[in-house]
């Protein structure tokens, strides 16, 4: 925003809309070039769009994924009453809106069709028209069925229209971003800001609505549950308990929600070609991206303590105490695991980390660090089996117990946003981020890279939900024990092993991406450059010290690997015994004196 004002003030002759367009498009305007990370408008808009879509998915979609969550939300927000958005209201309210939207679309479409100036526009209008027609057919059919009091089946021929409309969304977006059948290899930035963008946006809107209608008329109204809950929670009473610390209590949900979103600034979602240059789709390409995310997790802890202390509730206090102890404990192994990645890539920058995994995903050379991160990630976002801070069976939600309405929802969305952050960070750091077969070519680079990134992220999120359905909950002292006495030493060991491997340019730890240190002849500063070699070539390029180290290290690693394999063999195929020894039953009477000593205490 500052940048925008700056542009505006420097050029008095430029009106505000030109400035906005310049800001978004990154054009040169009145001798002033808007530069920096915000200059790429497409990147920014795409990032915002995806953040919005992800947010929508997180708030609405995930509730349906987890039936237990749904039940819990219902119990919190009251039962779902019939009649919030009935088919009748749907018909009365949404149909006029759709018609109003369709009229200008047709008008603009006719205008551009007749002028035939822009092929892109014509194509996208075609898609939009098909979408509107399909939508209209579905609405007519749905109204008829609704009037007859019937429920449509999935085999109803009119719902072929759904497929057509779905195609329009993809088609319109492809046209909008310049991947249409008739196009040249550039991206029409006007399509985003000019009137041309209206048609594809309308087409996509129609397709989304058509999707909703399809779901409603075929699956019944079960799907609206998540949507309606999200709407309804805004209108729920916001209860502040008596004697609560009002400021802390009311501010904590905001504090918990902000860092969850803040982390997404540095997450790279993909790469695209803008004016012949590769550009990362990241809102702010920070050099210390990992640090920012870890700092955000620490902020989350602050918010949880605020809510637990401010609620004036014993359950909340106990939950916040557990959370504080747990997060403090688990930040350290997490940092160690991520440091391994930073050593591997030579940077804390997330885009650089992704680029470093061009040949091999970091999960292979850094497998122990990955396993540590996997465990810690579960603890970091309070997912089972580490969900004891909000243990619903013991503490009835822990620090959430006094919250209601939208404040409760903010906590809830923040939890899932954290899950997304942690999963995306795992995808970026260990699974190569957006790297994958770019099946759409150079034009669709942005789409295919986002596809791979989201696919990896959601696969990891699936693991999180899977773990929830599988694991019982751990007790707080066991968690402490596990982290301080097991995870922390192991993670330090892993960090040592990795850093030595990186320092001595072990090809395995560098994923055959061998660094060279040179001195810049002009500035006399050290420069690091990387070269991807085969293992044999990499070995040849090592110095004598490094070669000696390489072979010693390999023997050590082989010994560790054999030990771990033997352990795994024993666990998997060994003789199963109970974890405790058998014992003859010799019971001794309870010592009454000791009992009295125990029970007599207690602060009065």
């Amino acid at each position: 925003m500052l940048l925008l004002l700056q542009t505006y003030q420097m050029n008095d002759s430029v009106n505000i809309w030109q400035a906005v367009r310049a800001w978004i498009n990154g054009l040169e305007l009145g001798g002033y070039r808007v530069s920096g990370p915000w200059s790429n408008g497409l990147m920014l808009v795409t990032a915002l769009l995806f953040i919005f879509l992800l947010e929508l998915l997180l708030t609405l979609g995930i509730q349906v994924w987890e039936r237990r969550t749904l039940a819990r939300m219902q119990s919190r927000w009251g039962p779902q009453l019939h009649g919030n958005i009935t088919p009748q209201t749907f018909r009365r309210v949404l149909t006029p809106i759709l018609i109003l939207l369709a009229i200008p679309a047709v008008l603009y479409g006719i205008e551009y069709w007749s002028s035939q100036e822009l092929d892109q526009t014509r194509t996208s209008f075609l898609f939009a028209a098909i979408g509107v027609l399909g939508l209209a057919a579905m609405i007519v059919r749905g109204l008829a069925l609704n009037k007859a009091g019937k429920q449509a089946s999935k085999d109803d021929p009119v719902f072929i229209g759904f497929g057509v409309v779905l195609v329009t969304m993809i088609g319109a977006y492809l046209v909008m971003f310049g991947a249409g059948p008739d196009k040249q290899l550039n991206i029409n930035l006007d399509a985003l800001t000019g009137i041309n963008s209206f048609v594809p946006l309308l087409a996509s809107l129609c397709s989304i609505l058509a999707f909703l209608i399809y779901i409603v008329y075929t699956l019944g109204w079960a799907w609206r549950q998540g949507l309606i809950d999200a709407v309804k929670i805004f209108f729920k009473e916001d209860v502040v308990p008596l004697n609560a610390d009002r400021f802390l209590f009311l501010f904590a949900p905001v504090m918990v929600y902000l860092p969850a979103l803040l982390s997404w600034i540095v997450l790279p979602f993909g790469v695209m070609v803008v004016a012949g240059h590769y550009t990362y789709m990241v809102v702010q390409d920070l050099n210390v991206g990992i640090l920012l995310i870890i700092a955000d997790f620490a902020l989350f802890l602050v918010a949880v303590i605020m809510s637990g202390y401010g609620s004036n509730n014993k359950y909340a206090l106990i939950g916040a105490m557990r959370e504080a102890a747990m997060l403090l404990t688990y930040e350290i192994p997490m940092l160690m695991a991520l440091l391994c990645v930073a050593l591997f890539a030579g940077s804390l920058n997330l885009t650089t980390i992704v680029e470093a995994q061009s040949t091999t995903w970091a999960v292979l050379p850094l497998l122990p660090a990955f396993i540590i991160y996997l465990v810690v990630a579960l603890a970091e976002c309070n997912r089972p089996p580490f969900d004891l801070a909000e243990a619903s069976n013991e503490l009835m939600g822990g620090y959430l117990v006094e919250y209601s309405g939208i404040r409760f929802a903010l906590f809830y969305v923040a939890e899932y946003a954290n899950v997304f952050t942690v999963s995306a960070l795992m995808a970026v750091c260990f699974f190569g981020g957006w790297k994958g077969p770019m099946f759409l070519g150079l034009d669709g680079l942005w789409l295919s890279s986002i596809f791979w990134m989201l696919l990896k992220t959601y696969a990891i999120m699936f693991f999180f939900i899977w773990a929830r359905a599988t694991m019982p909950r751990i007790r707080i002292d066991q968690i402490m024990f596990f982290s301080w006495k097991f995870l922390l030493p192991i993670s330090v060991l892993v960090l040592c092993v990795t850093s030595l491997g990186v320092a001595y340019r072990h090809p395995w730890f560098m994923a055959n991406r061998i660094p060279y240190m040179t001195i810049d002849p002009i500035t006399h500063q050290p420069l690091t450059s990387y070269q991807t070699l085969t293992t044999l070539e990499a070995l040849k390029s090592l110095t004598l010290n490094e070669k000696v180290f390489f072979w010693c290290y390999n023997f050590g690693l082989a010994a560790i690997a054999i030990f771990i394999l033997a352990l795994a063999w024993r666990i998997l195929f060994g003789k199963k015994t109970l974890p405790r020894e058998r014992r003859a039953v010799t019971w001794q009477p309870q010592q009454e004196a000791e009992l009295k000593l125990n029970s007599g205490g207690g602060g009065q």
Partner: protein, 410 residues
């Protein structure tokens, strides 16, 4: 690992003069299926004392029973411990048989044992699902309900009611089950055997569960005997008691089964004992089915020949539908009249020893009824079991005791 390493924390020297808090759990709490209030005095998360406040579910069933006729009394008794409702019917039926000197046909005895074991399975399956929820595992409850559903359908087929079917009546059982019942039960058993194994492995192979239950809530043998623990809770503490073996009723004298015993009396032992009991129950059901398939048990005519009291015979036969019912002027069945006297019967329920003491004055209903249930005793073990453990352990201990508050409050 020996008993001396049981984690019992002494009261520490406290230079900061920190206060203990009293956390109130219940009567409405997600972990407590039925309402009971626990006042937990805790030092941080360390439990120092648990005070149980009960009575939220008091319905005055004993008093109500003395105001109802015999049939109404049976319905009320089956609703004290509703997860195995047939125990109530069995108790009252055997009390009436003891009072009026009825003899139950052999075939009916086997059918009674069969139904009682099905009730035990149903109750234990419910406990297994609840246990998963208490430790934060959501999936076991879906498994438990899935396995319980065919069982309840079988009971429904038998008596027309899924939970409180009045299948066991004075003098036998109400009627011969349909042939489809036997077939479906036989088809269900091997499936259930396989699944029970996998369910037990889910817990016993899980390091998290073993760590959370091992040597947690240790109930020592002496303490168990002194405080009236019974059933799986007592057996997990190595008290070798089982009414089915020690004082056989129904057909249990002719069935062969083992009484599983625990060693340590901790939550893990109670868990293991219940799973072993489920296996034994399935063995017993199979034995009953085999015996019922044989011809030597007599005809399917279960009630009738040896009834002394004419009014009892008329009432029961009217209910069994063998003779046209004798109706009074209001068009109702005449209430059964039982000879005056006192009877004491007891049964090994899924949670422990259920005993019924009945006084009859020869009227249409009992003059006084007293029920002895295990949950009352187990509920008051909580204070002893939870001291020195953490708050999270309380719920594991509570689940492992398998307390039914409705039966404790009555």
């Amino acid at each position: 690992m020996t008993l001396s390493s049981i984690r019992r924390v002494e009261k520490r020297y406290d230079p900061l003069l920190t206060e203990t808090i009293v956390v109130s759990v219940g009567p409405q709490h997600p972990s407590l299926v039925s309402p009971v209030q626990l006042h937990i005095q805790a030092d941080g998360e360390l439990i120092e004392r648990v005070t149980v406040e009960q009575g939220f579910m008091h319905r005055g069933i004993e008093m109500l029973c003395s105001q109802r006729d015999w049939a109404g009394c049976a319905a009320l008794l089956s609703r004290t411990e509703w997860l195995a409702g047939m125990n109530g019917h069995f108790l009252l039926s055997s009390a009436i048989e003891e009072l009026s000197g009825l003899e139950v046909p052999q075939r009916a005895q086997f059918l009674r044992s069969l139904v009682l074991e099905l009730g035990r399975l149903s109750s234990h399956l419910y406990w297994f699902g609840d246990l998963g929820l208490e430790v934060g595992a959501v999936t076991p409850v879906f498994w438990a309900m899935r396995e319980r559903e065919p069982l309840l359908e079988l009971l429904d087929m038998l008596s027309g009611h899924r939970w409180h079917g009045a299948y066991i009546v004075p003098g036998g059982v109400s009627h011969e089950p349909p042939a489809a019942f036997y077939q479906r039960l036989r088809a269900w058993l091997p499936l259930m055997r396989r699944r029970i194994n996998s369910y037990e492995e889910y817990f016993s192979d899980n390091a998290i569960w073993v760590n959370r239950s091992e040597l947690i809530g240790v109930l020592e043998t002496d303490y168990a005997i002194k405080n009236g623990a019974s059933g799986p809770v007592a057996r997990a503490s190595a008290v070798d008691c089982d009414l089915r073996r020690d004082a056989p009723y129904a057909a249990y004298g002719e069935l062969s089964f083992k009484v599983p015993l625990g060693e340590y009396g901790d939550a893990l032992d109670r868990f293991r004992v219940r799973f072993m009991e489920m296996r034994e129950s399935m063995n017993m059901v199979e034995q009953c089915l085999d015996a019922l398939a044989g011809a030597e048990l007599g005809s399917a005519r279960l009630v009738g020949a040896s009834l002394d009291s004419p009014s009892l015979a008329a009432g029961i036969q009217g209910k069994a539908g063998q003779d046209p019912p004798l109706q009074n002027q209001a068009g109702q069945d005449p209430p059964i009249q039982i000879p005056a006297g006192e009877a004491f019967v007891s049964v090994e329920g899924p949670r422990g020893e259920l005993a019924l003491s009945v006084v009859s004055d020869g009227g249409h209903g009992p003059a006084r009824v007293h029920l002895r249930g295990p949950s009352m005793y187990h509920l008051h073990l909580l204070d002893e079991l939870c001291r020195g453990y953490l708050l999270a352990d309380l719920f594991v201990i509570y689940a492992s005791l398998d307390i039914m508050v409705g039966e404790a409050d009555r």
